[in-house]
């Protein structure tokens, strides 16, 4: 079962990477990164069990935190005036 779940998560990672590369908008990419981060947390937790030393779940906690922080960072700094300016130019 652990192996099946790991494979499923790897497949979902491929999908998230595809969306991250394809875009087309900034928010799609942020969504893909966020989803990828959550799946990484799960992958790390599963890897610990697959490899037989599950006591290293500390890393997964850090992933969850860092994922949140980077999403907030992207939202905070992608709203700045330069980007709005370029949007206006497009219109």
């Amino acid at each position: 079962m652990l192996i099946a779940a790991t494979l499923a998560i790897l497949i979902v990672m491929v999908m998230a990477i595809t969306r991250g590369i394809m875009g087309p908008t900034l928010y799609d990419r942020i969504l893909a990164v966020n989803m990828f981060g959550t799946k990484t947390v799960l992958l790390i937790s599963l890897l610990g069990f697959v490899m037989g030393r599950p006591e290293f779940l500390d890393i997964a906690i850090v992933y969850a935190l860092i994922n949140f922080i980077s999403v907030i960072g992207v939202l905070r700094y992608s709203d700045s005036s330069i980007f709005k300016h370029s949007n206006q130019q497009k219109k």
């Binding site: 079962m1 099946a4 999908m15 908008t25 966020n34 989803m35 959550t38 799960l42 969850a64 907030i72």
Partner: protein, 113 residues
Amino acid sequence: MDTFINISSSVFLLTGSFLCISGGVGILRFPDFYTRMHAVGVTETLATAMILIGLMLHNPDFFVDIKLMIILIMSLFISPTASHALASAAMRNDFSQKNNEKPDSEQVKPWNP
């Protein structure tokens, strides 16, 4: 009792994997940003919870369970908040469904050697 726990652990893990994959198909196949957001935001939290509960049942070690519990509680806080922030940021920037199909920057022609 052991077989019951094993079976329920497997069921949780498989349900979680199924939800993961359905979210993945959603992010790949849905037509615009808000529907993709919906697919991911809805499945993500539940899938995480299912897989972590499956792992908890799989391993009865106390400290490992506590750590899994911490991860679970944190992802229950964090994923909906991140989804909310993302959706509201998209709304605020007047990112309506009409101009969704436009790429986010003027795509320069792809580099071909």
